[in-house]
């Protein structure tokens, strides 16, 4: 090739073309979506996640949960998301607009978590599952997150949030006089998981029948 201006221009233009087409056009098309109320007088949805649940998202991020769990529901008829009860409707761009980091995920080694707060509303279940997934989900290949829990001496009375590990898991039982309790990070993470819900409708995505 001898036409070097063409080479330089082409190299520049090709990437500029895809960047404009995919990203710039998206910013224009849906970069200023706002929360919206389905009927007048209702709270515009979605609402921002705050407080402990938001802190828990940091744990979710730095433990790398995303690499096995997605957070998106596909439309009924495409895959089995709907049949598995992962959500009553498909997720749309507006569902994610208030998230500083969007965690769609590209792997479903484990189930989708977009609505896990609705499917498993029990904090105790989540703590047992995080401490050792085999307790709640035998045969799971999820890693245990025991390091998010601490073993401590029982004080005057057992802590209300101590893990209630079934007797069948003898290896996981704390020593006599001790109990296993969640650390602050575990509490935050579970709070985040419980906050994952898709219990509102948007004009562009209504609950499927």
């Amino acid at each position: 090739m001898k036409n070097l201006p063409l080479l330089f221009f082409g190299i520049f233009f090709m990437l500029a073309f895809s960047w404009s087409g995919l990203i710039l056009s998206s910013v224009i098309q849906f970069g200023d979506l706002k929360p919206i109320a389905l009927n007048e007088g209702e709270t515009p949805m979605p609402i921002a996640r705050v407080g402990v649940a938001q802190q828990g998202k940091e744990i979710y991020i730095n433990q790398g949960c995303l690499y096995c769990h997605s957070q998106q529901v596909r439309r009924k008829g495409f895959g089995a998301d709907w049949e598995r009860g992962w959500g009553d409707r498909q997720t749309v761009p507006r569902d994610y607009i208030l998230q500083e980091r969007v965690l769609l995920g590209t792997s479903r080694t484990g189930p989708d978590l977009m609505t896990i707060g609705q499917r498993q509303p029990s904090a105790d279940w989540h703590h047992l599952h995080l401490y050792n997934p085999q307790i709640t989900s035998p045969g799971s290949i999820m890693p245990p997150f025991r390091y998010l829990y601490k073993t401590q001496k029982i004080g005057d009375a057992p802590s209300p949030n101590a893990l209630n590990i079934p007797d069948t898991f003898a290896d996981e039982q704390p020593p006599e006089g001790y109990e296993i309790v969640p650390t602050e990070r575990a509490e935050q993470l579970v709070e985040y998981l419980l906050s994952l819900k898709l219990d509102y409708e948007l004009p562009e995505s209504r609950f499927a029948q």
Binding site: M14, L15, G31, D32, T91, R94, Y96, M142, P143, Y147
Partner: protein, 498 residues
């Protein structure tokens, strides 16, 4: 004259007396010697580090209690450390070594002040070390291919500029005349990578774009790291070495032209296929699918070009260490790309998406094509830089067979297992896990295939270790010098040098 201009005029070698091409090349080799050796040494060390994390992550996926109580090695962090060590450590150092060396040779540009290149390389590797330590200790960002804590991004970008700049400078001060196809690819890649990296870092981590635009940016970036950085560098290496070793020109200039421009046009848009079914406008997904399918054009064109160049030289391809790896890489490029186009179709994607099939495919492209090609490039480059031959043909054979078989088992295992996983995922009657040990579950069907990946990982580890030993032996071993016996070959060739 401004200091910058005087710097440019100082490193401009024009006006010096012309010398014979062979002398010129050996001068280029002499000047690229230290930087290239440094990059390749770092690359191979990163390869070992990345392999270690890969083995840990792979074992963890079928035996979740393996090293489970160390937070810094939890699966999400170990696999991210693996990916980043391989992408930013091994791949980029290999590219800097092999790519810049090829660019220097084709430009016949003389490199002065190559100490700056070495310094920039040290900064780059330092940044990767900090980044990986960051991932392990809680700075993991969970943005695919950008897992390092954002704080290291400026250092990475800065040292990249100092390294990539040399490629541009070589081109600027090249010997006039025809510009070879490898130079187009390397020049393009050198521009594309920093652009992709800076835009993605900014739009996802520094000034996050709204909602799922982040996901679009993420896959525009991540897929293009493969498509517009590793692939062009791999293809440039093949285009340079294949005619070089076989002693015959590339089959068709026009096909290489068509291949380059169609790759630059279509690969750009293909990344959206990672979001099929996701919460982004459908027209964007359709664009991604169209571009993915159109990738058949550059792939077929490049395949014809490579195949027609190599055809009739099977013996040389088999006996030259370089050619053995490069031909393996070129064939994998064709195959992996066809799979990629096929996987982008909605009907196929609904099965393969979210499964290990994608993981298998990623390794097919990055390892079977890119890494194998880089191995070939290093096997060709090192003897010329060091004026020594590879000490052991046996170790090269071990490397080839372990890598070839290992990646073969991985790709077949993960794609078969992933396909089954995908069919099961789409059947709501099959649960992920079950308290009934007899029940069919997604996990039960998947775990044996994950085991096969660990087996392949052990093979790859052996191969990489053989490569490392051979390399270290060549670099420091006193007996490595073998001028008289000629090049290290993997078989006998009549009458032809390789």
């Amino acid at each position: 004259m401004s200091p910058l201009l005087s710097f440019f005029s100082k490193i401009d070698p024009q006006g010096e007396t012309t010398v014979s091409p062979k002398v010129a090349l050996s001068e280029v080799d002499q000047q690229m010697r230290l930087p290239a050796i440094m990059f390749i040494t770092c690359a191979i060390l990163w390869l070992l580090v990345g392999t270690l994390f890969a083995i840990i992550a792979s074992f963890k996926l079928h035996t979740p209690d393996f090293l489970a109580n160390w937070e810094f090695l939890t699966f999400g962090r170990a696999r991210s450390a693996h990916l980043n060590a391989m992408a930013y450590g091994w791949s980029n150092n290999a590219i800097f070594g092999v790519g810049l060396w090829i660019m220097a040779r084709l430009c016949k540009a003389k490199i002065r002040y190559s100490g700056m290149l070495i310094l920039a390389g040290i900064f780059w590797n330092l940044a990767v070390v900090i980044g990986i330590l960051g991932i392990l200790t809680g700075g993991l960002t969970s943005v695919e291919w950008l897992e390092m804590p954002p704080q290291v991004a400026p250092l990475l970008a800065f040292s990249y500029v100092l390294i990539g700049m040399w490629g541009i400078l070589m081109f600027r001060f090249r010997e006039r005349g025809h510009v070879y196809v490898s130079q187009w690819y390397i020049l393009g890649a050198l521009f594309w990578f920093p652009w992709l990296y800076v835009v993605a870092q900014t739009m996802i981590l520094f000034e996050p774009a709204r909602g799922t635009i982040q996901a679009l940016t993420n896959w525009w970036f991540a897929h293009n790291v493969l498509g517009l950085w590793m692939t062009p560098m791999g293809l440039a290496t093949i285009y340079y070495l294949m005619p070089k070793v076989l002693g015959r020109p590339i089959y068709s200039y026009y096909l290489s032209l068509l291949g380059f421009w169609s790759l630059a046009l279509f690969y750009n848009w293909a990344g959206v296929h990672h979001l099929i079914g996701g919460p982004i406008p459908v027209w964007l997904i359709s664009c991604g699918i169209v571009a993915s399918v159109m990738m058949v054009i550059p792939v077929v064109v490049t395949a014809i070009n490579h195949h027609m160049t190599a055809v009739g030289n099977a013996r040389a391809c088999w006996c030259s260490p370089t050619m053995r790896f490069i031909v393996f890489g070129a064939m994998s490029y064709t195959l992996a790309s066809f799979f990629g186009s096929w996987m982008a179709l909605r009907d196929v994607n609904v099965v393969t998406h979210f499964t290990q099939f994608t993981v298998g495919h990623a390794h097919h492209g990055v390892y079977a094509f890119f890494a194998m090609t880089m191995f070939g490039g290093i096997y060709f480059m090192m003897p010329r830089l060091l004026a020594r031959e590879w000490p052991s043909a046996k170790l090269i054979k071990v490397h080839f067979w372990c890598s070839g078989l290992g990646i073969g088992i991985m790709v077949v295992g993960l794609q078969l297992g992933g396909w089954i996983q995908g069919l099961n995922l789409n059947n709501a009657d099959i649960p992920f896990t079950s308290s009934d040990p007899e029940a069919l579950t997604i996990m039960k069907a998947l775990v044996p295939w994950l085991f096969s990946r660990s087996v392949s990982g052990i093979l790859l580890t052996i191969g990489h270790f053989a490569f490392f030993v051979n390399f270290a032996w060549m670099l420091i071993g006193p007996r490595a010098v073998r001028y008289k016996e000629g090049p290290t070959l993997l078989g006998k060739i009549e009458g032809k040098g390789a």
